[in-house]
């Protein structure tokens, strides 16, 4: 889950400007990226997560070519049949192939998750860094807006807006979800920018005469890159959960298109009697979210060793 990092710093005593500073460690530091990769590889779970994620992507996009049925086919000879040689994941009440349906749902969820994360993070990086660096009314308006949107959960607002999606492309859903997700990341980027703004290399650039946009792009953004990468992964996970949650109620991906959420919703009522309707989509969804979280955690450990997360 995305945790606001500024929560910690408000608790712990912040550094006071004092008369003398402790002497620095004079020893040399080995190359940065080498260390990052080494740490990531050592987190076996994270590497496993990445492998699983890649496998899931392959399954979602290449899997349909292996199956015999497409997700719109109906096999009138096999209603509500369990997993068999002909239908690997079984069939639904209308004879649709659960394997094909599930993979189609996975495709949707994965793409939506990725797109939302990219858009949201990109937008958050731009707006957060400029708001943080320039301060003033731009910053205040942005923060006020964020606070407002935290008051009403995005889920509810998107649900309210969902009738507008009927009959339109799912890209609209992507844009709307991204429009809500970017706020939280933007706030975190803003916080980091504010602390970087007073860093001496930024001050040096300013007193050199470097222009404000150049400072943001050359000095601020690359130095929040690790934070952005970590947050992007978290956003993927949140986006997938949001989308499937919305689709569960019919507020997200609309029929005739299929989402893991809608499949799970369909399978919920008969989960006990016909477990394959619920089981396969649910299991794959959990796998996706789990592996994304593992990768995100591994990245956080690798890029930001001071964050002190899981062992």
């Amino acid at each position: 889950m995305s945790v606001p990092s500024d929560q910690f710093s408000s608790v712990l005593p912040s550094a006071e400007p004092t008369g003398a500073a402790a002497a620095l460690d004079e020893t040399r530091v080995p190359s940065r990226w080498g260390l990052v990769l080494k740490r990531f590889r050592r987190r076996r779970l994270a590497a496993a997560g990445l492998a699983v994620l890649v496998a899931l992507f392959a399954l979602a996009f290449l899997g349909p070519y292996l199956g015999h049925w497409s997700y719109t086919d109906h096999d009138f000879n096999a209603f509500l049949e369990g997993p068999s040689a002909a239908h690997w994941f079984g069939t639904t009440q209308t004879g649709a192939d659960v394997y094909a349906l599930t993979l189609r749902g996975m495709q949707k969820s994965l793409i939506i998750g990725l797109l939302v994360a990219v858009i949201a993070t990109g937008l958050a990086a731009l707006v957060g860094s400029f708001a943080g660096y320039m301060g003033g009314w731009v910053d205040r308006v942005l923060m006020w807006f964020v606070e407002l949107l935290l008051v009403i959960p995005a889920f509810l607002i998107i649900a309210i807006l969902s009738p507008n999606f009927r009959g339109r492309t799912w890209l609209l859903l992507v844009l709307v979800v991204a429009a809500f997700l970017w706020m939280v990341t933007a706030r975190i980027v803003r916080g980091m920018t504010i602390s970087l703004r007073e860093r001496e290399y930024v001050l040096a650039a300013r007193y050199m005469g470097v222009s404000t946009p150049t400072i943001v792009f050359r000095h601020i953004l690359p130095n929040v890159a690790s934070l952005l990468i970590i947050d992007a992964t978290i956003n993927v996970s949140v986006a997938i959960l949001t989308e499937t949650g919305l689709s569960f109620f019919g507020f997200g991906v609309q029929p005739p298109d299929v989402s893991l959420g809608s499949l799970i919703a369909d399978g919920t009522s008969s989960a006990v009697t016909y477990p394959w309707l619920f089981g396969f989509p649910a299991a794959l969804l959990v796998l996706i979210v789990l592996s994304v979280n593992l990768v995100g955690d591994g990245l956080r450990d690798a890029l930001d060793p001071t964050s002190g997360t899981t062992g």
């Binding site: 608790v11 949650g245 062992g311």
Partner: protein
Amino acid sequence: MVKFLLRRLANSLVLVGIAASLAYLLAASSLDPRANFEGRNPAPPKVVVDRRLDQLNLNDETPLLQRYARWVRGVLHGDFGRTWDGDSVTAEMGRRIGVSLRLLLIATIVGGVLGILAGAWGAIRQYRLSDHVITLLSFVTISIPVFVLAVLLEIAAVGFNNAVGVRVFEYTGEFTPGLGGGFWTHLGDRLRHLVLPSLTLVLGQIAIFSRYQRNAMLDVLGQDFVRTAMAKGLRRRTALLKHALRTALIPAITFVAYDFALLLVGATFVEKIFGWHGMGEWFVDSVTSNDVNAVAAVSCFTAVLVLVAGLLSDLGYAVLDPRIRVS
């Protein structure tokens, strides 16, 4: 400090107003109650439909702002309008609020306390077996969406019931309707219905809080004052509980407020799946049935709850953190 809280209260009221208005305006422009009438067979004449919609303040041909103004006037008098069936929204809300609050309070309190303790324990025993176990369990639980978790627990309950031969766990509704017997029978019945939905939310909360608290605790553990406490002669465990945990509670309190909005969404799923007639279930049903006023009412309720949670956490923060109190 009182001034600080009063300012927060004023700020919150403004936010509630704006959030609720936003919800109403979006609902009124996105949802289409007219379609409910038009979908009937035979379709009533337009004039009749219009009159009915006007009565209920749901007419999409009336200018949006006019409907909004009428709604606001009603709300300020405590009347949230009418459902598209003609019932009172306020009355329905009254019936449903208690249901939701029951779930939310249990989840917050039980989940929060257990989660904080689990997180602190994991941090103290960093890298040992108990830490790994707690971390792994939290991690997996967070990765399971609420609606999947709810169904899984339901399946498990059914299995358990069958194995034991007695319906120990109930998974539909809040209580068994038409049940005879006295106070204890009813209490037992309610508890049996309460376990699964609460457990779904509580597990998620424990997982989230324990991860957060573990990080907060680790940050605090690295601070010098824990070392000072030990240098004074306190045993490690005492220093950790008295000094580290107490300090690490401060971020936990602020996190409760932040987490509350997520909890509300989770509760919506739980209510729907377990058939609890709370605000969450009502929201979903209302959107599906284009019930604008009900949707607006639930949004208002949500905003108020989130802000109350925020105010309570501010209060808790002020109590726990002397730096706020004195300055």
